[in-house]
């Protein structure tokens, strides 16, 4: 790693002030950023660790909305259980030691195209809360590793409207434990949302044809005959674009069948 200073603010306000230096970088749980720093793929002058910001940790529920603090670990979300599909998703990220450190805010800020949480946020129609504003998930995820966050902006919380039924199905890439393809399905009073991760060069995205079919008939059979184009899907040594396209419909059907 290149040398850098590290700061541990105790409040969001202090963190925002510390990040006002343009060569400063926020550090969540570090489960992606620290390996990146070790490869010298990033060279911040200063890391601002958010792990000491108590106001960004914790989970609360009111009026059908689950609010998860940006600094809440995967392990804590997994243990919560009040939004079952979300807790199950968190319980299958990485491994136990990664879940002890990794945070929802870090995952959503990084927007890895194969990460699990972006699918939950987009699939649930969540709202990303930052120190400056609230951003609808539909406007937040811009592309692979790209988000609507500005310089120095911090995700302080994510608000999930708890759907009638939801489920996340992940086809695990066994070496990295990321999703080769993951699909989050949520059935709400306003219709069905389907978010796909791991598949596209554009990052997490919605599968609108499946949403339309499932809004009329919420059953795996409603997806019969629906296929996904392999154009612009990720192709690597773990799976071709055609393989991923096939997995999208398989995992969507499984998520619908398992939704509760």
């Amino acid at each position: 790693m290149y040398a850098f200073d590290i700061e541990r603010p105790a409040t969001v306000a202090e963190a925002v002030a510390a990040l006002s230096n343009e060569d400063a970088q926020a550090l969540g749980g570090g489960q992606t950023l620290i390996p990146t720093l070790k490869q010298r793929l990033a060279s911040p002058e200063k890391l601002v660790s958010l792990t000491g910001v108590a106001e960004m940790k914790g989970i609360s529920s009111a009026g059908g909305i689950l609010t998860v603090g940006g600094g809440t670990t995967h392990d804590d979300v997994a243990a919560d259980g009040s939004y079952k599909a979300l807790s199950e998703l968190a319980a299958n990220i990485g491994d136990p030691a990664v879940r002890s450190r990794g945070t929802i805010g870090g995952s959503i800020a990084n927007n890895d195209p194969s990460a699990c949480y972006p699918a939950a946020a987009l699939g649930s129609g969540a709202t990303i809360v930052t120190n400056e504003r609230e951003i609808a998930a539909d406007d937040y995820f811009v592309g692979m590793f790209e988000t609507a966050l500005g310089e120095g902006e911090i995700i302080t919380a994510v608000k999930f409207p708890i759907p009638e039924k939801a489920n996340y199905q992940k086809f695990v890439q066994p070496a990295s434990r990321f999703a080769l393809v993951g699909v989050f399905v949520a059935k709400t009073a306003d219709g069905v949302r389907v978010a796909v991760t791991g598949a596209s060069n554009e990052g997490v995205h919605r599968w609108s044809a499946a949403e339309e079919a499932l809004s009329k008939d919420f059953s795996a059979g409603a997806l019969d005959g629906l296929t996904v184009s392999a154009d612009d899907l990720i192709a690597d040594l773990h799976g071709s674009a055609e393989y991923r396209a096939h997995l999208v419909s398989v995992m969507t059907k499984r998520a619908v069948a398992a939704a509760s």
Partner: protein, 161 residues
Amino acid sequence: MTKVTMTINGKSVSGEVEGRTLLSSFLREDLHLTGTHIGCDTSQCGACVVHVDGKPVKSCTMFAAEADGADVATIEGQANADGSLNVIQAAFQEHHGLQCGFCTPGMVMSAAALLKDNPKPSEAEVREYLEGNICRCTGYHNIVKAIMAASGQDVSAIAAE
């Protein structure tokens, strides 16, 4: 350099660290607690697992500065007060849960974290919990058997394959 103070295996410890000093480096190079092993340095292998505030973490994927004020437990603190092996360590010995021994500190620390949360895990739960701990010798069977035995469950039916 930043001063950090933390409790390690029940003792208060202070040191001067750089921002980029990993917790694993602080333990091994500054404190000479070399029981915590660095297998891969890429967050994959789990040989460096320690407990921070009761949770298992990969000490190569956390900065020492982030552990300031934390309660850290390493393999060096696992033995009983009289120096004898604790129940997990003894089970690893009894059931041949190690061969070269390189992954063992992380395996024992992960096992301890599992049994704290789930005192009677199923074999499947043990295997799932060890997802982030890689062993290249044993094929895992005897590690799983040792952890099942350490939890007080009958392991006579678990074959050593």
